[in-house]
Amino acid sequence: MTFKMLLKKIKIGKILFHTVLLTLSLTCIYPLFWLVINSVKTNSELFNNPWSFGASIQIENYTTAWVSGKIGISFFNSTLVSFISVIITIFLSSTAAFAISRLKWKLSSFVLSLFLLGIMIPIHSTLIPLFTMFNKIGIINRYIALILPYVAFALPTSIFILSGFMKTFPSEIEEAVIIDGCSMAGFFWRILFPLSKSPIATISIFNFVGMWNELMFALIFLSDPNKTTLPVSLTRFKGQYSTNWTVQLAAVVTMIIPSITVYIFLNDKIIESITVGSVKG
């Protein structure tokens, strides 16, 4: 085989290789593209030809979904609940991780394994007791009923990642800071916490994506249409607009767009956070 033939062979192989990968990547993208173009059509256009673009852009589908379908309110609720839950998770998990990884006490490894056990526990096994408990103290249909379980179930993985990071922090610096007259709490808040920026970003992204997309807790603890989150609102759409398909499509697009927009800008960090979060756990 001459050098030229070899080159040609490699080229054909490469073209074939990229054709396969490109086709696969289109199977990921096309359904979303299809969803978007049909979400701005009329119902009859959708039924006549689901492949083509509509004659005009039906923005009404979105306004209907946003206002009368309560997608707007749910959007706000989802953002609020996820945001508050992530903030609380950051504080509770970083303080606990600090106590577990750097302070010296007998039960620290036991407490760590107790937290790690949580990674294996399915949320389903806590639903009924939490529901009856929340009912008794009257917080069903309040944001707190969702924030509490979101935080509690975010702690295991977050503590695992953070304590792994904090363990590696050089103790010489810690000693120097303490000798300079800083308290343990001062050392944590002023030195260690700010230096843990990277793992804190990781757990924030990991948890935010999970909370923003969560369905089961929200379905049970926050079912009030004015309080509930996007995933629950979307499931209700099916019944509410059962014949008005394009409004349903528009609602789904509304849920997908923020995720994809953020993902386009932060894809590397998001991929890393989500995979690190579950592999470590």
């Binding site: 359904p31 303080t95 096994s125 009924i128 303490i178 349903q248 998001i270 579950s278």
Partner: protein
């Protein structure tokens, strides 16, 4: 210094807030669920101790529960059989220096950041018998006889759901394997290439053994993930038609929050919890292998 590290007040003030929330919301409810699984307890509040009767009923009389167990294991096994090899192949294909690598990675992973609820709805549109593109496509290429009511037909509902699960998660598993494959030292592969090893042999004798630890991690993730499956099922079929696509989690939801049989629902979730722990333990032992250091 030592005394500051052992200061009880500091330790408690740091660990207690998180620990209390965790114990109240996760640990105590688990024991509560196990306790309540021994009761006949419905919405009216009458609570009667019946021992293991709920469990006996589940496994001997409840055909829907048996069906949901079967479906759950079907999801688990199909995920393992279909997704693992494809994810590994994709990872190997994308490893090293290739063109458009970042584009492929980003696109394949993308379905994972979208809510399962949104993906479930998107695919109910795609499967829709009237405007959905699957039936429309089959009609267009002259295969009208193959069109189905995909999600409303007892025979096609599970395969249809499995397709969606693969679509959503293959990219995720691919990323895990990609990291493992790229961890293999270059000189190892180069040495094999010089020895004239072809790519199939390279995959079988070099790549696979060296990413075995990741296969172990991934299999546990897939298995416990499949056991917890709920969102897609709830949105796409709600367990139907006629419970044909019921899984353990959706059945637990149905019994507890539609039938309001809290005792029975608790028993179902105890089974789910036990399966999660036992299967994770077994798989971890099965795939136990040290992460290699080079």
């Amino acid at each position: 210094m030592e005394s500051m590290l052992k200061n009880k007040k500091t330790i408690l003030s740091f660990v207690l807030p998180g620990l209390i929330v965790y114990i109240l919301i996760v640990i105590i409810p688990i024991f509560n669920t196990i306790y309540h699984s021994a009761f006949k307890w419905n919405i009216l509040g009458s609570k009667n101790f019946i021992g293991l009767e709920n469990f006996v009923n589940l496994f001997t009389r409840d055909k829907i529960f048996i069906k949901s167990m079967k479906n759950t294991f079907l999801l688990m096994i199909s995920s393992l059989v279909v997704q693992t090899p494809l994810a590994i192949l994709l990872a190997v294909a994308l490893s090293g220096k290739i063109k458009f690598k970042r584009y492929y990675k980003t696109v394949f992973f993308m379905p994972n950041i979208i809510a399962s609820v949104a993906i479930g709805l998107l695919w109910t549109f795609i499967y829709n018998p009237e405007f959905g593109i699957i039936n429309r496509f089959l009609e267009a290429v002259g295969l009208k006889s193959l069109t189905r009511l995909w999600l409303a037909d007892v025979k096609t509902v599970m395969p249809s759901i499995i397709v969606v699960i693969c679509w959503q998660f293959i990219g995720y598993h691919m990323i895990l394997y990609l990291a493992a494959v790229e961890n293999i030292p270059k000189d190892l592969r180069e040495a094999a290439l010089i020895d004239g090893v072809n790519s199939v042999k390279m995959l079988w004798y070099i790549t696979l053994p060296l990413i075995k630890y990741m296969i172990g991690i991934d299999v546990v993730l897939m298995a416990t993930g499949s056991l917890r499956f709920f969102d897609l099922i709830y949105v796409m079929t709600n367990g139907g038609p006629n419970h044909a696509s019921e899984v353990i989690a959706s059945y637990m939801y149905y019994k507890s929050f539609r039938d309001y049989q809290y005792g029975y629902g608790s028993a179902v979730s105890v089974v789910l919890l036990a399966l999660c722990l036992v299967i994770a333990y077994i798989l971890q032992r099965l795939f136990r292998s040290e992460k290699l250091e080079y």
